[in-house]
Symmetry: C2
Subunit: 265 residues, 2 copies
């Protein structure tokens, strides 16, 4: 099973939009996909029209040992499952703080799950706290959405340090597969200059080995498209809501590029 965490401690850069629509694209292409919502704000869940009333019936119940993953997982589309979140997950940051092996809890819960998926995708909150650390410890791959604005690279080194630390201490299989530019204002000088800066950053920082050895800028850019912002208000992925839009075209292309990249040795 391929497993990918979508992370960026910066808010509003396209993590949830990417997690939901990438998962939907892969399911459309024939994969069995499970999306895990690790954000207490539960935007990925709300995006797919899922709102949990009893917090034990969410990923919070799973992390606190009251439910198994299979108990709370729901079907949200053909070949497409969701492990939903709930606002009470915010309490987990404090509750889990003093647990032994507190970053490994999600990983263990997933390992105990008997269901088979081709790809697992985890949507993370805008922070590098215990919830994101659980995601990074549970997956093999990391995808980084970036908004191509002035401070896109600011804070990137802290994020990459975190990936390195988790790789060193908790999860040697962890690998940054790449950066995807989101909310890309096509044709503007700013977006194109930042794209160039990000590309150069990864060329300069390329390691011969280690968690960012193969990290690169995806050639697919997710263009700014109001349809992507509208889809969640209908509880739908972009493919259900506006299958002919630029947003659908871009996420379809991204999923194709991801599959091709994942199949490299």
């Amino acid at each position: 099973m391929r497993s990918i965490a979508i992370i960026n401690q910066k808010g509003g850069v396209g993590k949830t939009t990417t997690a939901v629509n990438l998962a939907a694209a892969l399911a459309d292409a024939g994969q069995r996909v499970c999306l895990v919502d690790m954000d207490p704000q539960a935007h990925a869940s709300l995006h797919l029209g899922v709102s949990i009333s009893e917090s034990a019936d969410s990923v919070y119940g799973v992390l606190t040992g009251r439910r198994d993953v299979g108990d709370v997982r729901q079907v949200v589309g053909e070949r497409f499952w969701l492990v939903p979140s709930h606002l009470d997950l915010a309490a987990a940051e404090l509750e889990l703080a003093s647990e032994v092996g507190r970053e490994k809890i999600l990983s263990d819960c997933i390992a105990r799950d008997s269901e088979n998926f081709d790809t697992l995708i985890v949507d993370c909150p805008p922070s590098l706290g215990i919830l994101t650390l659980n995601a990074l410890t549970a997956v093999h791959e990391v995808l980084l959405p970036l908004q191509p604005h002035f401070l896109a690279l600011h804070g990137l080194s802290k994020l990459l340090q975190t990936v390195q630390l988790v790789s060193d201490r908790l999860n040697p299989d962890l690998e940054l597969i790449g950066v995807v530019l989101c909310m890309f204002d096509a044709g503007t000088r700013l977006a194109n200059e930042v794209a160039k800066d990000v590309s150069e950053f990864f060329t300069e920082h390329q390691q011969s080995r280690g968690p960012w050895a193969r990290a690169d800028l995806f050639s697919t850019r997710i263009r700014r498209n109001i349809r992507l912002a509208e889809a969640p208000s209908f509880g739908q992925s972009i493919f259900q809501y506006a299958p002919d839009s630029n947003g659908a075209e871009d996420y379809r292309r991204l999923s194709g590029e991801l599959v091709a990249r994942m199949e490299r040795p």
Copy 2:
């Protein structure tokens, strides 16, 4: 002196862009303005081309008692001063956690400052933690930038509860003056529908008295304009960078509306 905190725990909704350009607009209009950067990410400081190497020479030094506000404040334009931030401010969240009257520190530092300003503006981080609480305890007015997207109202009640709590327990003068829609995709149905929802929300929740008694949706909408995203990469406000742009026009209009509203009894 008028004092305004720009808050929203959601990331990337336009807090910093509003704090910087509103301050610049008021300074242009003849006011003596001081902008305080309370975000450890220091985006407001970077936006104005200020990068502090010694963290004591920032608002962090002030909050930890090593500097006075006047020691770290810098001129950034005509009638326009900045109290810059530094990444080490992130440590303050932990360091100040157990201080007596920990939410009142900024307020006391400002009170001790002998300099006179017409307006003080405080840019806050995307959280409702100790730094934002210090800002809310130090000012009289709160301005809320919102992105007119699906989940704009989600999390708004938590934010309004926080304003109510600070008003009850720490700062009875605190008042929410209003919401300003930012990154407004003019002409799209989504932006206009969310604008309607926000307007109705405040009509329904209008209190006869209390911190949101006079809260309203500003009629000025800050339209999406790439110039606003480009200006920070030149260390400039929108008025220096692109004075004839929609971004400049919108923030000029917002400052006019703010001044008119502030002068109501």
